[in-house]
Symmetry: C2
Subunit: 658 residues, 2 copies
């Protein structure tokens, strides 16, 4: 433990306030991660007392600098800072309640729990990657509405874990490619991970790696506040994103545990904490911050008051579109063309793949929603995410509405989170449904945070055909339906696709998945008066007279159910067909509606996917026609037949149940 | 398109044989990816005709060089090579049947479909990452059994997509760290992806990036066979893993589509193919290989015959352990100590967390299974994957049985696949259950390939406590149960944990998940005569007299069910408790067994996880006690109460149903 002499006593005390608030709260909770808050307290002091642009009285100030604690386990660092800076949403009691049930000060920073938290972090690598999205959003909106209302930095604190996670490579390589020079990452370079020293598992030259990805890099002593300040000034002037490698000691100040993995994830213990008080000359009780130090911090919190006022004045001049965009509001009548599209396809009985239907929707809405920013993980021509008004965002011109994510599904997921969290953007992004697995951790975070992100996931079944089982989703529908906080839509035709897009766009507090076919599907909905997809499931075609059976189907299998119904009718067997584009929305309907739709006759579910979960609707006496294993390589129609997902199977199933 | 003059006519013709077999098969299938086989045909010719060690008559030769086509969409390259080299498992008819249902020549290479395919590829980044596992297996086994029986290269062909996927960063950084110098990756550096030019989405300096990760790098003209050969010789001598950046033209030979994304994923078309015949001077009919060229290829296939014989002779001297290990056989009586452990814990009523129980099992079996190689993604002390006999594999000493994967869950998943595919190793690896999301694409591949990989996934519910919802798995049990080909075990005590370990180890054709608690659990199984976990679910405690209800529970909730049973008995209500450690195995039991276990009384499922899927067992009239949303940060016991997963809830539920 070495002290840098150029750091003033007051500056050191401000850092120590972070250290002791953090260590004391963790001690009291008897749970938490002191290593990072102690190690990064000096860096945090420099950044938050002198550089970062924020206003504790307006935590959602649109043009504030964003801060992402990518190493989310260091949550007490952030909570201490927010308290010290004077955020009203957090008092000393909240610090004392750290990690208690219901506390705003959760184990890891939770977006929405406490003003000043720009994103939920904890799963490593997500923070740094979503920060790329925030920095990208800043550039896009600056290009669109002017730097006078959007011109801020995105700061990140990341640990070794964040840099080791593969998602960080995807994200930093895109950030370097797009020259997001207002993105500044502090790497807590302490050479310690949970299992010991980083050297035991990694020998990457991180500076060289970031440089290879188009980044500017700076190395500093993370305990020398003067050096940190110099590095930030340099980084702010860079034409590339910057990594500031901060050489720190984990658990700085803890006399015996500092510098070791022992202080990473456990309270220091009374003895060590007491020794730390002595070592750092901190003669204050737990949770006590000396007045002079608190005053300095509170003053730091007021640093940007006039900048905030000036921004408010400028923002007022920008008109309604800007105001709507930054408040997440869709323009009035944004769906005018979408309505027309539905009428048109009904009139023309349009038969297209639902991925094509999705593109038709995008053609109808993209020109009317300035904040809609699309993209694909190198499958634009397959996901059909491009439209006539699409313009790709590049390092030379950020004023676009399409992002070429490259073959980086995971970063795409995280970057979309960042775009949505930043505000001013509604992101959608495409890949093959089967490869959504690659971005699942980011999707889970979107669901947990409750943010509006839209996934355009095409090639949604064995209908993929020849590419075979590695490219055919089987378990994915079930695997998303069991995830809380996210909606999975699997529309059966153009009308349902348009309805799903409408719901996805109008639902501000949830991510939505659109699972779309590669293959063409007939138009089944002959009326679009009501958004029936909003009901989750509905009777698409009622039985003439008494229902003998109810077939519940989704997406591409609805047309198959309709054909079975027709043929059964010829045999005098009357059945109903229920289309179920969104189970989550159906489950949220009143019970009597659900019962009315599902009916009392035997039920059969048909979906070219894992059968898992369908007993919820068909019960133990019903039947499920679906997949029992992985798919295979071959033409799609042959696969459907081979795996027994066919009109004949449905007919047989109905007859068996009767 | 430039031709290198130093490449002989015959060598060029051998490459063209690959080109035309590939292009013709894709044309016939009217589906496939010609770009890569055409672009990499020269590199493949050099590697497969002059360097790679293989024996078409013994495709599973243990000490063969491994080859991973990480860019799996280029499958026709591999199929062409296997045919040309004389693998008996593939004839010209198989090439003609490319991508047809049931063909060995599936759209992407499928492990087990055709001799000579070392792994299933297609999902990008997986191949290169699993190859790291293969190269690591080679070094571990060489250290253990001698280089006279294990001393081979692992070759990979990867495209831009593989390098852009984050998993590749995790894998190459570990490969560099462990100095896996017998790993040689050919990068098909053609600057084209599906959406256009790589430059549009990435500007990474790949050589610099690999060097930062501890790799040797070489750049060559991928169409100059002499240069490629020189590069391979150099790479073979390197003390680091090597990236050979092969500057190629995608679709080399196709006069108008070559060099563009048009030839990436679609047949060339009759016209272009005909023009390519002219351009390359190939005056042969589709699927015709001129005799001289075929002879050269077949001779190349025989290159290693004597090496193979010599190896056989040496291998014979290595004794039974080596023979068992390379044939995937467990030693006789490997489970002797495991049996003792079960008796001991029953006698002592051992109350421990199931993660601890897992460690006790490992302590009992690790000394007896030489091929068992563990590890953790930087959570060894939490996953409890280390034992008294654990020794970490390092670059200086590969003779260990523990791998420090670092914070690289995805690569861990893929590397474990590689270890298992190589043979001679049974890998297990740990992380928090919630972070299994990060390695899901690799797990899906393990399930699809049907290989023995064991995931030790601890902290399996809200029982995680204070770390909060980012660290608490909710949907994960359901999300694995719906995945085909994988088994999820959630044992309730030490006995079931031991049974699960036994099943995981003895099941050669499936990956297994062990979902284990952080918190202590009482011992519930008082007899270990039969492995009841093998039944998937069983009556742990029958009702005295007629069952009024059946509670089905897993893992930590089984003890809760047992307590409810006890209390209900006091009120005169007799119920049965079914422990269901593995739904997949239960579903595979005879129907009458299943009905007998589940009984006719009302059923209630209890699991501290998403309720999704439990209707399968409790029907529409039963009840499910579980989680409806994400968890929260707070002490575990408080969370259980808060989310209504408690003895009282179970009792109430039983009473409600009666």
């Amino acid at each position: 433990m070495t002290l840098c002499k150029s750091t003033t006593k007051q500056a050191r005390a401000m850092a120590n306030a972070i250290r002791f608030l953090s260590a004391d709260a963790i001690e009291r909770a008897n749970s938490g991660h002191p290593g990072m808050p102690l190690g990064m307290a000096d860096v945090a002091t420099v950044l938050f007392s002198r550089f970062i642009r924020l206003n504790p009285a307006a935590p959602r100030w649109f043009d504030r600098d964003r801060f992402v604690l990518s190493a989310g386990h260091g949550s007490m660092l952030l909570y201490s800072l927010l308290y010290l800076l004077g955020y009203k949403d957090i008092g000393i009691e909240d610090l004392k309640n750290f990690r208690r049930l219901g506390a705003k000060t959760a184990g890891h920073p939770e977006y929405g729990h406490l003003a000043g938290i720009d994103m939920t972090t904890g799963p490593l690598g997500q923070g740094i990657s979503s920060a790329v999205g925030m920095a990208l959003a800043e550039r896009i909106l600056a290009a669109k509405y002017g730097e006078d209302v959007c011109n801020h930095y995105t700061y990140v604190m990341a640990g070794d874990g964040c840099l080791m996670e593969g998602i960080s490579e995807e994200a930093i390589s895109l950030a370097g490619h797009l020259r997001l020079n207002k993105l500044i990452v502090f790497w807590d370079n302490n050479n310690v991970t949970i299992d010991g020293h980083v050297d035991a598992a990694s020998s990457v030259d991180q500076l060289k790696r970031f440089e290879a990805c188009g980044w500017n890099t700076i190395e500093v002593d993370g305990h020398c506040q003067k050096a940190v300040a110099k590095a930030i000034i340099k980084a702010q002037k860079s034409k590339k994103p910057t990594l500031i490698a901060c050489k720190t000691q984990i658990g700085f100040g803890a006399p015996t545990k500092g510098g070791t993995s022992k202080c990473h994830g456990s309270p220091l213990g009374a003895e060590e904490l007491s020794a730390m008080r002595k070592a750092l000359g901190w003669n204050y009780a737990p949770f006590e911050v000396p007045a002079g130090v608190l005053t300095s911090w509170r003053e730091a919190g007021q640093r940007c008051n006039s900048a905030y006022q000036d921004w408010q004045n400028r923002a007022k001049t920008k008109g309604k579109e800007f105001s709507d965009v930054i408040n997440g509001k869709l323009p009035k009548n944004w769906d005018k063309e979408l309505k027309k599209l539905k009428q048109k396809v009904i009139a023309e009985k349009t038969k297209v793949a639902t991925r094509k239907a999705s593109q038709m929707c995008l053609e109808a809405i993209m020109p009317h929603i300035p904040q809609l920013i699309g993209g694909s993980a190198d499958l634009a021509a397959s996901n059909l995410t491009l439209t006539g008004v699409s313009k790709t965002v590049t390092a030379k011109d950020y004023n676009g509405n399409n992002i070429m994510y490259g073959i980086r599904e995971h970063a795409m997921g995280a970057i979309m989170n960042g775009l949505a969290l930043h505000g001013g953007i509604i992101p959608f992004g495409g890949t093959f449904f089967v490869f959504s697995d690659y971005m699942r951790p980011a999707q889970r975070l979107a669901a947990l945070m409750g943010i509006r992100v839209i996934y355009v996931l095409t090639h949604d079944s064995i209908g993929v055909g020849e590419d075979g089982p590695t490219h055919q989703p089987i378990e994915h529908l079930a695997a998303y339906r069991c995830m809380p906080g996210i909606r999975t839509f699997r529309p059966c035709d153009v009308v349902e696709t348009a309805e799903a897009w409408q719901l996805a766009l109008e639902t501000e507090d949830k991510p939505s998945i659109l699972a779309l076919t590669r293959q063409n599907l007939p138009l089944l909905r002959m009326s679009a008066e009501e958004n029936l997809t909003a009901r989750g499931g509905y009777v698409l075609s009622e039985a003439d007279g008494k229902r003998r059976a109810t077939i519940i189907a989704t997406g591409s299998e609805v047309s198959l159910a309709m054909e079975a119904k027709k043929r059964l009718k010829e045999e005098g067997i009357e059945i109903a067909v229920v289309s179920m584009p969104c189970c989550e929305l159906f489950d949220a309907q009143p019970l009597d509606y659900q019962e009315q739709v599902l009916g009392k006759a035997p039920r059969i579910a048909v979906e070219a996917a894992s059968k898992f979960g369908w007993e919820k609707y068909v019960g133990l006496d019903g039947d499920i026609i679906g997949m029992d294993g992985f798919g295979a390589s071959g033409p799609a129609e042959e696969l459907y037949k081979y795996f027994g997902i066919s009109v004949e199977e449905v007919i047989d199933s109905v007859k068996n149940l009767l």
